[in-house]
Subunit: 390 residues, 4 copies
């Protein structure tokens, strides 16, 4: 149970690149990082408009001289300070993630980065190597992965309660972009522009979320081959897709399916993961995140509730309030940032034992997302044909 | 509103092949056909064991001499009677449907047949032609298609409330055969034996149900190509699949997906259809059949209830009780049989005007199911590759 | 499992009083009684307009001479026939139930009667006595009481799975009469006219339903005292209430609450029963009748599904189709009529052993409903004060 | 939309009494107050054990000298500092609230207090007067009242979308204390001890929550009289109740019912409010707080989602993330603390215009809760008889 005591003795010194102004994603990063004194926000380059970014940083209480015009300056100047930041979060458009991650690692910073980390597996590999060389972590913000019931599912599957896994169905399918809203809405426009988001829209923006939830639940399964069919229902979005289906074959003979969409009219987020084993299934839905369906064949469906003593200790450890109350997206993110902090600290201490057993969405997770999108696009561009996963 | 008055002035004289003893499907045929005096059960060949079949028929109140040892005798003897049956329902194992249908049509009977009508498109075509030649209908028992909210959905889509259709997701995925229950259970065994069920298990047994629901809702769309990936998670079932995914492309650019499974552990039937248009979506689930979700993008989700005055007259016509009460599978089947009776009568009267606008699951619907399974198997057997729909 | 074989060797010869024309309740009586050949409809006095009643009866296939102008003639003429009816169902306005029940019993008929049986406990007692004297039953159509999951709940409670019962919450609260719809709708008008419905509207019309469900689930509890507060939100309905709350104290120290309403705007029927024991609770809702929530304190909620092998044999006995499919109001009624038939037959045979253990909504159940309404009205009229239950 | 900018130019200087150690309620106060820099935690008397309280305060980063042994010292010493706290939150056992509130107001502090403010209306009145005299506010932490959909409901009702209000049903009924868990669990024990909680258990601890939600939604209604029936199902809790029903009559003729329970076996919190008007109803449930059911009679039920543009601006103002994501209890509390801060600031500035239109759970709300419990106990102790609300 978390009760507001800092997870480490100190708050980690932290900065941000991007995420200024009315950015929702910037706020959720801050809200999560600052929760319980995990991090202290001391510096930032919040905006491509330097002046606007400075004012914004100051409105957050940051010293004027630590509100920088750009990330290069941020990293350079902070590195020169004895009290400079130790970690940075990157909440900029996708096309800039790779360069900023590289620069941050090079400057000796731990990194928290929005997905996708980058656009190609080669780039991701470069980040893995640089991260290892620098002894710094990259945490990737697959937000709902921090929800306690995801770890509950992971543990139940590891404990064999489902038997051998056969089927994983994933979904993230909202309807907010059923029409060409980007024509009037700049905050949507960049998401459908390949210059900013690389080779995909919903595959990279949405699908990697439930994909990572499923990987977290069933880490032992590896994709062997996949096929992806993608569509641009709003024509002006082509070649970027606003809807896609992916089928996967795993190394144990299991199969997976994933539907991601931004044109699922009338739906809210619709992020769901269903894992089917030979004995039982688990299903989780982000719109009612405090419930986990556990369906044993031949028995009544059970609805597990966050915060209840019958859950696994790993699922109870991150609770902030007892069962029956609703924890939401912000707590899931806070749990992630808490884990990032612990991983940063253990990495700084070269505590390999700790890290060996400690789960968080790391650079490998980020790489897997990039790799998966790359394979999907390869399949889709080959006429939705099956491709070996590589 | 249906209130027990016979839909026609007379009850149609009716017989059955199969469906004896403890057969659930036999009972639901009878329950539906006899409801409201639509049909009168006068003859049958209920069981492969002639004596058992005769006793069963008599227990239903049928005259002993009209409980026949086999369908050939049934058709021959009844044809010779001035009060012989006019229609017959076929509830035998799948491998016998084709021959019995042919014989029934040849004997001048209207037919109600379980799906699949047969195993090949060639056979289906033969039935279409024979049906036309004989001026007799074949009704196919896609049971839930008779539920009023399916017609409500059909009408809303026809009225343009969803805009252009983009996506159709279909599902029928239960968990009752997650283990190899057929080893101990004869009533399951034939379902996984190609000699009895032809080239597929769940594709033919389950998938054609939501497929037909979707066709009913969106009749204007035609499948152009599809791909099917199928698995036999219980190994002894191979080559028959107990799980499959199908992706489809329609002629208007829409896409479809279908998941069918008998190994979806812990799930009940899980039959769902979601139709997504550019403006709104509709979703129906057979486990809560009295509700239809109508989701207009940018508006609160609406839950439409069977029996309510705001529904279309076509969805209200078949109600037996007001909204708020639960109608279930039996009413859906009764609605189908009522439609079969009306179609039989209109066909007998050569009333083409009536038939032009009158919906029921007809021989074309049955043919489509056979065709679709054939295409799926062809795709699956070609390594889950895309095939033109033919 | 029910498969269409008649429950008795013969179909009981049956007639109806009322329920003609477009009456929904008439249809559901017929639909239930005729299901599976339980009864045969041979005679009736369907309408206060004799000519209309005769035409209606004939449209149902009844011989013209057995379509009678009124119930007195019906009972007299049928009694004179060697093949006269054995049982009659009464589906007339409430104010006529008592007299028709008396006449039917006096004529040597078994009776199925809509609730309320009558308006006063004295009348009910008279019916009890006449019923005993004539060795004829009165079955009361608390329709949903026939649903299998109600008997499942009864058995689980009897088996002690809930521990001592502490709380029973009941509800039947729809919104169909939120406005004064009776001004334009004759089929509603009589329901709010004391001449036709006696001393109450929603207490008698709605509340007795969940009350009887609860009595069926927890037969051992007896009401000791109660209080009732009632309102007429549509003023013209006064003194009849369109909304009421009732609190009850049972003899074991348990408490109960009941909310009934016809002005619960936007709600469908909202009939719910929740039984809370010291260890667990059960909850059933008529709008999703195939699910029963079983909530053990400290464990995940379980959702029991009709038709599943883990249920009690008593709950499986009346299934017509396997789990996962929806059975609705019509099957619940059919189960009741099946039980009425068995009780009639056993009563005719003077089979006390059979009857001792056999549950159905009998004249005592009907009396309890009348008694309960009388007590509620007494409390309400005394300023919503507590009254001893008598 | 809230994006992390402080609601005021400064963070309010803030302290706590109680809420130390593993107190969940202490954590949620801090989590809410510190969110977005609304308050700064600078001092406290966290524990009845002074040493333990000091260590805890220091673990939160508070200067050792500002971790005080008791509230009297806290208030005195902080008042003497130029940078002393401006506001204090009280999270101690109920029996101490009144004295600490008084002392805090007397020391010139704004107060945030757990409910109940005190045990008698006389005490509450004294706090109202002292608060006015000192020009300081008392905010009361009815946590879910801060959820945006509560304000959405309030606005819809004010806009007349429900018509005249007729019925309010309230519920807070969990099962966590179905057994005598207090025997082994000190954190429950004080809740059932009149020395610590005054004259009631669930009425004060649970019922005042949905009562206040309802008051927030329908502020125009005033209770005229009520009756309360209460039970102690765990006998050792008597005279404190662990279950109670309350019926209310409002001044406009509307009626209300409330069920509160700690012995509702198997239920989570079950906090629900349903407001029924002559045209439509609204229903909100704390376990799925992001959805609000809007049920217009004669139309399909609509499910409103937090964060969607179709909501009222007042419901959108406090969003921290867009619709489809889950905000939970912590955001509701943060919204309350944000409002407390704005009210404190406006009160300090004597900005009556601002305060005239500004909603938050204030000392009047706290007083109403105390008054309501007092009336309930009076009714219950008089044999569950109706009492005039005074």
């Amino acid at each position: 149970m978390i009760n507001g005591i800092k997870p480490l003795e100190r708050s980690l010194r932290w900065g941000m690149v991007g995420g200024g102004g009315t950015s929702q994603i910037g706020y959720i990063h801050r809200s999560a990082a600052l929760r319980d004194g995990t991090f202290s926000l001391l510096a930032g380059a919040f905006d491509i408009d330097a002046q606007r970014g400075r004012l914004f940083g100051q409105s957050l209480g940051i010293a004027a001289e630590r509100c920088y015009p750009d990330y290069a300056t941020l990293f350079r100047e902070e590195a020169a300070r004895v009290d400079g930041i130790e970690a940075v979060s990157i909440a900029t458009p996708n096309n800039t993630h790779f360069a900023i991650c590289q620069a941050a690692l090079a400057a000796g910073l731990h990194v928290v980065c929005e997905k996708p980390l980058c656009f190609t597996v080669e780039e991701a590999q470069a980040l893995v190597e640089l991260s290892q060389k620098q002894h710094k972590i990259i945490g990737v913000t697959y937000g709902y992965a921090g929800h306690q019931l995801i770890l509950q599912a992971r543990q139940m599957i590891a404990d064999g309660l489902l038997g051998e896994i056969r089927i994983i169905n994933m979904q993230f399918a909202h309807g907010f972009h059923a029409a060409a809203v980007e024509l009037d809405n700049p905050s949507t426009r960049w998401r459908v522009d390949p210059r900013f988001v690389g080779p995909s829209y919903v595959l990279g923006d949405l699908a990697t979320h439930p994909l990572f939830l499923a990987e977290t639940m069933v880490p032992q399964l590896k994709v062997k081959r996949l096929m992806c069919s993608r569509q641009s229902f709003v024509k002006t979005r082509a070649p970027l897709e606003d809807n896609a289906y992916v089928l996967m074959e795993y190394d144990n003979g299991a199969v997976g399916s994933l539907w991601c969409s931004a044109v699922n009219s009338g739906s809210m987020h619709g992020q769901k993961v269903r894992v089917v084993g030979e004995k039982a299934s688990l299903e989780w839905w982000d719109e009612q995140p405090n419930q986990l369906r556990f369906e044993v064949q031949g028995e009544p469906v059970r609805i597990l509730e966050r915060g209840m003593p019958y859950l696994d200790p790993i699922a109870l450890a991150d609770d902030r309030i007892g069962g029956g109350h609703s924890e939401g997206l912000f707590e899931a993110w806070s749990n992630l940032y808490r884990r990032f902090a612990l991983a940063m600290d253990a990495t700084d201490r070269r505590d390999r034992n700790f890290l060996a057993d400690f789960w968080y969405p790391d650079v490998a997770a980020g790489t897997m997302g990039v790799r998966w999108v790359e394979n999907c696009v390869r399949s889709a561009d080959a006429g939705a044909s099956w491709v070996e996963f590589r």
